[in-house]
């Protein structure tokens, strides 16, 4: 199989994923009369479907740890952020248990998802077992939403103030970088299932190992680096957005008295 053939044929038409996407769209349309932000929702849906249906998913399914990591980042950081953007600006997220609104809880949800699913046992289980894999996918989107709501809640008053938000994001970046550094430099295999694809059911191994040059060691390195560098750049983007929010506040003549 060549790379081009793989990109054309590597799509998986997973009915559960398609159905989830369709249901989400119906719920969105039914729940919100205000459709001005449906563009964000479409983007979230598109990223979600691409992550789980495209060749990336085929690679993540037993072939490449780094592809799994890319999926992980998309589901934890990109999809939930886009979903929160898609909510009308009047929606309050102060529902559910109070603990959901604690910054520490959101922080632990976002960083804990990273650490928990990269414990070797969990990482292997999520590839080997379908139900665990489904649980992982759902948990990433949910935990990611809990993480981002501190920053991206539709209502300004439900978000952290910019200095706190910057601290929140920076420390989350450190927590993920540490794991990324461990994975990059670790002399042991984090997710051993990827080093010995049980059955090369698509005949892809040859092109991955020799065509693309992904040895198992380099694959893990790239996985670690994805978590270390690009993921931190996502947090950095959010930090810059917080700075913009902070400095954009009414710097003109204000009514306040001093």
């Amino acid at each position: 199989m060549t790379t081009a053939q793989f990109i054309l044929s590597g799509w998986t038409w997973n009915p559960v994923v398609l159905l989830t996407g369709a249901c989400a769209l119906v719920i969105y349309l039914a729940a919100f009369r205000d459709r001005r932000r449906i563009g964000w929702f479409t983007a979230a849906l598109a990223v979600f479907l691409l992550t789980l249906l495209s060749p990336l998913n085929t690679l993540a399914d037993g072939y490449l740890f780094s592809a799994h990591m890319a999926q992980h980042i998309l589901l934890l950081l990109i999809v939930p952020a886009l979903l929160l953007f898609s909510l009308p600006r009047t929606i309050s997220l102060a529902v559910g248990p109070r603990v959901f609104s604690y910054p520490l809880f959101g922080w632990l949800a976002g960083t804990g998802a990273m650490w928990f699913w990269h414990a070797p046992a969990m990482c292997n289980a999520a590839v080997a077992s379908r139900p665990v894999h489904a649980l992982q996918t759902v948990s990433l989107v949910v935990l990611g939403s809990l993480f981002w709501r501190q920053i991206l809640a539709p209502r300004d008053e439900e978000r952290l103030s910019p200095p706190r938000a910057i601290f929140y994001l920076f420390s989350a970046c450190v927590a993920c970088s540490v794991l990324g550094i461990i994975i990059t430099f670790s002399p042991v295999t984090v997710c051993s299932i990827y080093t010995m694809p049980m059955t090369d059911r698509l005949g892809l191994l040859h092109i991955i190992r020799t065509g693309w040059g992904f040895s198992p060691e380099r694959d893990q390195q790239i996985g670690g680096l994805l978590m270390w560098v690009p993921m931190c750049l996502i947090y950095l983007t959010a930090i810059l957005a917080q700075l913009a929010r902070w400095f954009a506040q009414e710097t003109g003549p204000a009514t306040e008295s001093i």
Binding site: T184, S186, V229, L233, L240, A248, Q249, E250, G252, I258
Partner: protein, 742 residues
């Protein structure tokens, strides 16, 4: 001696009452202004030493096959020159400037912790003495400023030079962290009313952001130095075969070393952001962008250290990621260069000495950035690494930007510090000598590097072009030496005979110019109203004031409690230290090794002792609650219980150590034992420090000197105690539990 007092008095450095005991007035001072000056004088002293070392090297290199300086001495010279210039000149000079200026700019009386401030300063001379003492103890360090492993290890550097080098850097690192904690707490809690974070002058803002970089990066180096010292003194193998990893040292060093570049560059950016607007008679162009890009630079600088290691062979994948992230730094620095340039466009530029230095710094920094890009690209870096091209590049950063900016700052703020103007004529001489000398020395080194001359060679054969290019470079160094002499002469002469400066000689706009020169002990008698970033402009131009900067965020108008803030900042810094030790433990124990291992540890016993430590987190929390409710006896009881539980834990750890020693497991048995004793030992040390702090609180409480209003002291100690417990959760999981999960 009385003449000295009279001279100091005439120079505005002593009040009349202090002339009797002028030495103590300076040596025992806790005033941020005097500490700032002490920092700068110390930096100047070491600048002369580091400069003389550089002159010796340049003279040695002036002609091919020179034999003036033997190779060993030359190695010591470049090691000491680099270490001195970074740790004993650039950092103290910038800390000193910030110490003097930041409290004034934010309208504060002093730093948040004046005595901690004095402590931080006095560690600088101590570190300097330790470093130079190595010459009396058998020879200075000769390993380069980054002391790569395994050259830094006993088999390759058997004299005491490296030990003193590591000790000195450890001491200086602790001093840097303490002063940076002080800056953070000062900016967060000591600002004048209405001086919100968004109204901070850019210099103070950048010192604030930079201090976070210091407290995150320096502990990483400290952890590495501790490991190095353990290797050297206790015969272990962190960075040495068999088992150890020389790359580990490089990772640790550059995880500190790259942020370090920005630790000295960001304050220089702050200086440029103050001086350029004042001498262009315009507010800074894009305050928000200059302030925001500082955050981006600080963030990215922590992320890109591996670009110092492209030639190590980490693999193409690693290189690729770090090429990309390193190149990204060009964006926020480019934003800054644009903002400073745009500030000058259309301004009424006054080319006084401070402005001359800052404009030169801006242009030279642009060159440094461009050659920096060629080091960010791995393929180019392979060609130029460890050549004179690299030497030229980082001297364009350290001298071209930082030294020029510091000189600009000294010419700018000297009138405030002394009450007298520096001579403009001598200042221009300093500038032009420095400009010619610097560029003559270092521009040509780019070409030398491209012609193949490696750095750190004590002499070279007479290859085509090398001789005359080196001669040009050396001749430039003499211009710089002359500039330094003129500058020192200017300082001395102006202190005694300079024109009186008045409060605000440059018509500047920030608060330090709103008080007398030099400022009174308490800094301000009265502050002007603050509602924008340029309070003095508003004050003198009431008809066209700056737009008001709002106070929307509650965090901007209220200040956190200073003890709590300090402890949290300290905890962040300690996390960096323990983070490195834990990562090192995980790295070295990823695969089981022959000899002692986790099977020698008693999980059950240590688990029980650990429960005591975890329980003590609960008791200290109860103690705080009791104090808050006004029940001093319950508070003392819970506090005593905390100390007891902590003591039991320490005894338990002692018993475990004894058991290990008795079964023949020592710190140098194998890497498991080394990392185990290092990690748990440092944790135990922290528990002991926590116990001492708790005992002090207990003593105060028993003496009846502890009221409800002192609750913040107990809270601060309590926070630290929780942190020590939390670290043990991680250590316990990594050392005791993890092996059982395999």
């Amino acid at each position: 001696m009385n003449e000295i007092a009279t001279v100091l008095g005439r120079a505005g450095l002593l009040t009349t009452e202090q002339r009797e005991h002028w030495k103590m007035a300076w040596l025992s001072t806790v005033d941020h202004k005097r500490i700032g000056i002490l920092y700068m004088v110390t930096a100047l002293f070491f600048f002369v030493i580091g400069g003389v070392e550089a002159m010796f090297m340049r003279v040695q290199l002036a002609v091919p096959n020179n034999t003036l300086i033997p190779p060993d001495t030359y190695n010591m010279l470049f090691t000491m020159h680099g270490t001195t210039m970074i740790f004993l000149v650039a950092m103290p000079a910038l800390f000193g400037l910030a110490n003097y200026i930041v409290p004034l700019q934010i309208g504060a009386r002093d730093m948040a912790f004046p005595r901690l401030n004095a402590f931080g300063f006095w560690l600088v001379p101590l570190g300097g003495i330790l470093l130079h003492f190595s010459f009396l103890a058998g020879g200075g360090p000769a390993v380069g400023w980054f002391a790569y492993a395994p050259l830094n290890e006993t088999p390759y550097s058997s004299q005491l030079g490296v030990d003193y080098w590591a000790l000195a850097l450890l001491v200086l690192g602790i001093g840097s962290v303490s002063v940076s904690i002080n800056f953070i707490v000062t900016v967060l809690t000591q600002r004048a009313p209405h001086m919100t974070l968004r109204r901070l002058p850019l210099f103070s803002w950048m010192i604030f952001i930079n201090s976070f970089l210091v407290i995150l990066a320096l502990p990483v180096l400290n952890a590495g130095l501790v490991m190095l010292l353990i290797d050297r003194r206790l015969d272990t193998h962190f960075f040495l075969q068999p088992g150890g990893s020389a790359i580990m040292w490089q990772n640790i060093f550059w995880a500190f070393g790259h942020p370090e570049v920005y630790i000295v560059a960001i304050p220089a950016f702050g200086i440029l952001s103050e001086v350029i607007p004042v001498f262009s008679r315009k507010p800074i162009f894009g305050y928000e962008f200059v302030a925001g890009s500082t955050v981006a630079i600080a963030f990215l600088s922590l992320l890109v250290w591996a670009h110092h290691m492209f030639t190590v062979g980490l693999g193409h994948a690693v290189d690729l990621f770090f090429v990309a992230s390193s190149l990204l730094i060009a964006i926020p620095t480019g934003v800054k260069v644009l903002a400073w340039s745009a500030t000058m466009v259309g301004g009424r530029i006054r080319l006084n000495t401070p402005m001359l230095f800052c404009v030169a710094a801006l242009v030279q920094f642009l060159f440094a950035g461009l050659t920096g890009i060629s080091h960010a690209v791995a393929a180019l870096d392979w060609q130029t690494k460890n050549s004179y091209y690299l030497v030229a590049h980082f001297h364009f950063v350290f001298v071209g930007l930082i030294v020029f900016a510091i000189l600009g700052a000294l010419h700018y703020w000297f009138p405030k510090m002394s009450g007298r103007m520096l001579s403009e004529r001598l200042g221009k001489w300093t500038f032009w000598l420095m400009l010619i000398g610097f560029n003559l020395t270092f521009i040509i080194q780019h070409f030398l590097g491209l012609a193949g001359m490696p750095r750190r060679i004590y002499t070279y054969p007479d290859l085509p072009g090398w001789g005359w290019m080196n001669m040009v470079s050396t001749s430039g160094a003499f211009f710089m030496a002359a500039a330094a002499l003129v500058f020192v002469w200017n300082l001395a002469a102006s202190l005694l005979h300079g024109k009186p400066a008045g409060d605000n000689p440059w018509n500047a706009w920030t608060l330090e110019w709103a008080t007398t020169s030099p400022p009174p002990h308490e800094n301000f008698h009265e502050l002007p109203p603050i509602r924008s970033r340029r309070p003095l402009w508003d004050d003198s131009n009431p008809d066209r004031p700056d737009p008001i900067v709002g106070t929307k965020w509650q965090a901007e108008t209220t200040s956190p409690e200073k003890n709590k803030t300090a402890v949290i900042t300290f905890i962040i810094s300690e996390s960096g230290f323990f983070g490195v030790l834990i990562l090192a433990y995980l790295f070295y124990n990823a695969t089981p090794q022959p000899g002692p291992g986790a099977h020698n540890l008693n999980l059950l016993k240590t688990g029980m002792f650990s429960l005591c430590l975890f329980a003590s987190s609960f008791t200290i929390w109860r103690s705080e609650a009791s104090l808050q409710r006004g029940k001093p006896r319950a508070m003392v009881g819970w506090l005593a219980a905390t100390i007891l539980l902590g003591g039991i834990f320490i005894i338990g750890q002692g018993l475990e150590y004894r058991g290990l020693f008795q079964s023949g497991v020592g710190v140098s048995s194998n890497l498991f034992a080394t990392t185990f004793f290092t990690l748990t030992g440092f944790h135990g040390l922290h528990v002991c420090v926590g116990l001492i702090a708790l005992l002090i609180v207990l003593g105060l409480a028993l003496a009846g000197d502890f009221k409800q209003r002192h609750s913040h002291a107990l809270k601060a100690v309590g926070l630290y105690w929780h942190f020590v417990d939390a670290v043990w959760v991680l250590v316990f999981s990594a050392v005791y539990l993890l092996p059982h999960l395999r």
